[in-house]
């Protein structure tokens, strides 16, 4: 018998990360009468993307920039197609959010005039080693109730309305049932859909948090929420092996990309779209083409930067990604004397860098009543980074607060629905007791990653795909949902791991349908269709969206129109 704990709240936040913590504070400040509950899979002090720290806020309107100039930049960086309403609305709140977090204690570098020190056009420098504990403390002090170690497994729905969520505790094994008037999903993006860059004891040496496994996407998919742009995957250019962000080097030290022959290939081959400043997908696509053509490895040319710059670089990594510094120490590398080798990552689904995620309105309402989305899990608005995730948390908080003011009664779901979710959530646990040859989550993970890697545009095929490959991926993935019924978990940690794979299977199926549906190549490498190698504005200047029918399980694809709000050439920043 599984013990149950039922929690009544006004607002439930799933995922106490960057967006979730900020949303909690905003609700408590603007609507103090409402009870806010956070369910977090780990401990909010050090969970999610920010666990290791941050060294910059990558989306900020530095002096002279406006929401319009930001929209123009993000639009061209995303190859002419974004939700301009979403990008504009988040940029209007960057300053509001950053000032708040500075007040809570985050050290931000300022110059003698009190202006923040830019690091590139849209970035400011911070000492963000403790950014996550700072946010967590703010959320707690504001009065949000935090439940750590709860892996949320599903939303509760009644008709078209989301009424709460269910999860289990990693610590006491209880089933947590939360009834709420409004639910914010803020669980971040998805790593681990494809084979990671490294193996063995470094298989989780990924760039994106390996513990963000697409739970929020999967819950929405299962509940029938409309999703957008999964085909715009994120393939990141990162340092070789350590997989650390390269913006720190490119922006911080002004280092350009060069190939094995020392050629600045972005300048020689991609001059027409901006050279070293080409849209982000091209800055991953360019180096891959060099390697494919036998001109690899590819480097960021840091040679000749001053000793002081090298120290700054190391300090910047210590604030965000310390293992990069250890890598240099262990391999006797001085980035001032030799260039830094780079590589591209496994494809991630991250709505904060690209735009895969929930289809939301400008107030971050999803298509399901009572459900809101913010941060990497929300779609349509790339270039979010930490500040955009905060801004979306604020927008969602304000919408939730004012929406529930008009709501009379909480809707409660039936006991059968909760019991069904209890069986689903604890299934792998029960299997362990009765199955001799059960499937371990690591085995199912390998099977999923093998399919995605080989047939759905993984790194080993240079991220390329065509109709036929995707058809094989679709067919092979179709077998996996049945396999889930044979998953075993011997303890609560393994049960969490089982759900991480279950969620990724649901996400992968939707991803493959999206990649098959968009018959053009708008974002090379993110989505390289060898059978449709060109961008096609006549037919595809629109969003690819999907809904999985909760009854039949069928994934239905559709398109939504693009709306240009900020005038100008869509391909010029």
């Amino acid at each position: 018998m599984i013990e149950r704990q039922t929690i009544e709240t006004d607002i439930l936040i799933i995922g106490g990360g960057t967006a979730g913590c900020m949303a909690a504070v905003e609700v408590k400040e603007k609507f103090p009468q409402y009870k806010v509950t956070i369910l977090e899979k780990a401990h909010i002090d050090r969970s999610g993307c920010l666990a290791g720290g941050m060294n910059a806020i990558n989306a900020y309107l530095n002096k002279g920039e406006t929401p319009e100039s930001f929209v123009r930049y993000v639009r061209s960086d995303s190859c002419g197609l974004i939700r301009e309403d979403l990008v504009k609305s988040m940029s209007e709140l960057f300053e509001y959010c950053v000032k708040k977090v500075e007040k809570w204690g985050l050290p931000i570098l300022s110059d003698e005039n009190g202006d923040y020190v830019p690091r590139g056009r849209w970035n400011i420098k911070i000492n963000g080693e403790s950014l996550k504990p700072i946010l967590a403390k703010a959320a707690r002090s504001a009065g949000a109730k935090v439940y750590n170690w709860i892996t949320v497994t599903n939303l509760l729905t009644e008709g078209e309305r989301v009424t709460g969520a269910v999860g289990f505790s990693l610590r006491n094994g209880k089933l947590y049932v939360v009834n709420a008037k409004a639910v914010l999903i803020a669980t971040g993006g998805a790593a681990g859909l494809y084979r990671p860059n490294n193996a063995g004891d470094a298989s989780h040496k990924t760039w994106y948090s390996p513990y963000n496994t697409g739970a929020g996407y999967a819950m929405g998919i299962r509940a029938g929420a409309e999703m957008t742009s999964y085909e715009m995957r994120y393939v990141a250019l990162r340092t070789k092996d350590a997989i650390a962000p390269t913006g720190t080097i490119a922006l911080g030290a002004g280092a350009p990309q060069v190939n094995a022959k020392g050629e600045r290939f972005m300048v020689s081959r991609y001059a027409d779209i901006g050279g070293d400043g080409a849209p982000t997908p091209y800055r991953a696509h360019g180096p891959i083409q060099e390697i494919k053509a036998g001109r690899g490895p590819v480097y960021l040319d840091t040679r000749g930067i001053s000793a002081e710059k090298v120290t700054d670089l190391k300090k910047a990594y210590l604030d965000m990604y310390p293992s990069q510094v250890l890598y240099w120490l262990a391999n006797d590398i001085d980035p001032g004397a030799e260039p830094v080798e780079v590589q591209t990552t496994e494809p991630y689904i991250v709505g904060g860098h690209c735009q895969s995620g929930y289809w939301v309105d400008v107030d971050r309402r999803t298509t399901l009543k009572g459900l809101y989305a913010a941060g990497d899990v929300a779609g349509g608005a790339p270039f979010k980074f930490v500040s955009g995730c905060w801004a979306e948390g604020v927008l969602a908080a304000r919408a939730m607060g004012s929406d529930i003011e008009r709501m009379e009664e909480k809707v409660l779901v039936s006991e059968e629905r909760i019991a069904a979710e209890e069986r689903r959530a604890f299934g792998p646990f029960e299997n362990h007791a009765k199955m001799k040859h059960g499937i371990k989550s690591s085995e199912l993970e390998s099977r999923l990653q093998k399919i995605m890697e080989q047939y759905a545009g993984g790194a080993s095929t240079y991220y390329e795909m065509n109709e036929e490959m995707l058809a094989i991926a679709r067919k092979k993935l179709a077998d996996l949902p049945q396999e889930v019924s044979g998953l075993v978990a011997e303890d609560l940690h393994q049960l969490m791991k089982a759900h991480e794979v279950i969620d990724r299977i649901d996400v992968a199926q939707v991803l493959v349908e999206h990649m098959a549906y968009r018959k053009e190549t708008r974002w090379p490498t993110y989505h390289t269709r060898t059978d449709y190698p060109e961008r096609d504005d006549v037919n595809w200047l629109k969003f690819v969206n999907s809904v999985r029918d909760p009854q039949s399980g069928k994934i239905v694809l559709m398109t939504r129109p693009y709306e240009q709000l900020v005038p100008g050439d869509r391909y010029k920043p």
């Binding site: 401990h43 080693e129 504990p133 707690r140 006491n172 004891d201 470094a202 390996p210 006797d332």
Partner: protein
């Protein structure tokens, strides 16, 4: 093994049921073996190298080494939080034994030795 808890230095945070290293790991990878009163990294293959575990250990009992596949295990990187909690100093030792230090501003938040203390401060019932 990227992160290694030195059993000679770890004191299990005394009677803590859930010591800070265990609570701050975003992947839930560290376990305390109550029979010997020491913590260990149970799932090294799942480690992200993000280091909250190291930063919060009051005994500085946790070491950080590179996964051997990436290079020498001899180099080390160790953060030390200053008493005022406004600075962090990193001791970096390279493969040849050369030491360098980096001191950086920060704002470290206090953390209790055990989860129950934290939960009771919040008035949460979190009986384990």
């Amino acid at each position: 093994m990227p992160v290694w808890i030195d059993p000679d230095k770890c004191n299990g945070c005394h009677s803590s049921r859930q010591p800070p290293c265990l609570r701050m790991c975003p992947g839930d990878l560290i376990v305390k073996d109550h029979s010997v009163n020491k913590a260990y990294l149970k799932y090294p293959e799942d480690c992200w190298d993000c280091l909250p575990c190291i930063k919060v250990c009051p005994e500085e009992a946790i070491e950080f080494h590179l996964s051997y596949q990436f290079g020498s295990r001899e180099a080390t990187l160790a953060p030390h939080i200053h008493k005022d909690r406004d600075f962090i100093t990193w001791d970096a030792v390279d493969v040849r034994g050369k030491k360098e230090t980096f001191t950086i501003r920060t704002k470290v938040m206090k953390i209790a030795l055990d989860e129950q203390v934290e939960d009771s401060e919040q008035g949460l019932d979190f009986s384990i």
